[in-house]
Subunit: 138 residues, 4 copies
Amino acid sequence: MPETVDKEALRRYFEKDRFATYVGIELLEISAGRATAILKIKEHHLNAVDMVHGGVLFALADLAFAAASNSHGTIAVAVNNSISFIKAAEGDVLYAEAREISKDRKLAAYSVEIKDKTEKTVVLLHGLAYRKKEKIDA
Amino acid sequence: MPETVDKEALRRYFEKDRFATYVGIELLEISAGRATAILKIKEHHLNAVDMVHGGVLFALADLAFAAASNSHGTIAVAVNNSISFIKAAEGDVLYAEAREISKDRKLAAYSVEIKDKTEKTVVLLHGLAYRKKEKIDA
Amino acid sequence: MPETVDKEALRRYFEKDRFATYVGIELLEISAGRATAILKIKEHHLNAVDMVHGGVLFALADLAFAAASNSHGTIAVAVNNSISFIKAAEGDVLYAEAREISKDRKLAAYSVEIKDKTEKTVVLLHGLAYRKKEKIDA
Amino acid sequence: MPETVDKEALRRYFEKDRFATYVGIELLEISAGRATAILKIKEHHLNAVDMVHGGVLFALADLAFAAASNSHGTIAVAVNNSISFIKAAEGDVLYAEAREISKDRKLAAYSVEIKDKTEKTVVLLHGLAYRKKEKIDA
C-alpha cells in the first residue's frame, strides 16, 4: 500500500526554511522516504582555499535528509548526522539525494549522497532522525 | 616546548572563508589545538519550525574545528564529522569551542561543543581531520 | 570492465581474523565492493539486559565492511565508523550486508545494514576506509 | 548537590554483560557520568593483519560509554556511536575513559578515549544515548 505524500504541503513547509533559502538550496523532488535537492555554486559558498565549504555541503545534504524524513507527514528532527567528505566538488552544480534505509516507530535512518557533474560522490551523510507525533502544519 | 601559533596569519586565512562570513560566524580565539567561534542568531538562521537550522549549527562548530585543526600551521581538511543535536538552542548567541583530542602524523581528532546562554550543550561535534604537508598561506 | 576479485585469497585473508572467529561471525559472500556476513546468536553475545550486545553488532557490521573495502585486492583500513542502533534484534540469526557507496584514490565509503529475521534493519553503519597501496597477501 | 552513584549495583548490573566478559573487558571505575575500563590484549583480539581488531576497540570503548551513561541509575541505551581509529595500539594493555559531555532529559552525549601504553589516543568514540525512565535493576 503506497503511502500518499502531500507534496504541496511539504513544499510549503520547506519554503519556511529561511536558512536553506539564504544559502540558495532548492528542493527538487519529495516522495515517501526520498528527496532530492540542488545547489548552484556561487562565490559565497567557498571556503578559505576556494573549495565548496563543508557547511554548504552539510546544509545541502541536510535539506534532502529533512525532506525525506518529514515525507511521511509527521515531524522528524535530526538526532545525529555523520558526514564524510570523499572528494572535492567539481563543476558548479551539486545534487543531493536522500533515501530512507529504515523507519521504526521512533527512529528512522537515511543515507544521503551529494554528487557533482562528474557523477562521483562528493559527500556521504548518514542521518538519524527522531520521529515526533505532531503532524506537519504547512 | 609550547608551539608558537601565528594567530594573525590564521586570522587572515579564515577571513578568506566566504561562507562563514556570509552566515555571520566570527572566530574569537585560536591557540595550538583550540579555537572558539561565536554566532549571533538572526532571522535567516532559522528553519521551518523557527529553530536554529542544523546547517547553521554545523557551520558554527565546523569553523571552530577548522581553526583548531589548522592551528599548527599546516593545512588540515575534514574527513568525517559526526554531529549530535542535544537540545534546542535558547537565547540569541551561540558559542562553539573546539579542542584537540589527539594528533598523529596524518590524522587528528577534535571535540567541539556549542553552548547557548544557559551554558548547556546544544551540539556536540566529533571531527576527524587529515593533515596535509602544505603550510598555510595567508 | 568488471573487476576480478580473487575470492579465495580474500577468504584466506579473513580466516586469519581471530576476533571474528572468536565471536562466531562468518563471511558469506564477497564481490567487488560488496560483502555479506552472518552471525548465529548465542548466550555469550548478550548484554546485561539480554539483548544482542552493541559490540557484537558492530563486529558483525565491521566484518562485512572490511571484506567489502578490501575486495579490490589492496589493503583498506577503517578510519571512521558511525553506527546507529535502530531497533532490537529479533530471532537468532543476523545478516550484515555491506555495499560501496564511493571509492576514490584514498578514501572509500560503505553503507552496512544488519537485518534480523523480520527483514527489518537493526543497525545501520556508515564506514569510511583509507585505501593503502599494499596488496592483500593471503 | 553531588549525585550518589550506587557503584555496587552498577557493578552487579555489568557483571551480567556476557559479551564484555567473553571478550575479557573489565570495568575499573564508575562515578556520576564517568567510567573507565581496561583490556589486556590476547591472541583472540587480533585481526588478519595482527592488529587489535576494530570490534575489540569498539567493545572496550562501548563498555566505558555504557557504564558512564547508566551511572545515573536509570537505563540508557546507545542510539549512535561514531568511532575514529587514530593510531595503531602499542603494548598489551588498553584503557578506555568515558566522560559525559551533556545530559538532557532524553539524550546524553559522551566522549570516550582509548589510550595505549604510550599514553597516546588510539581511538576516539563519540556516543549518544537515549535515557529511559526504567531504573537499573541489579
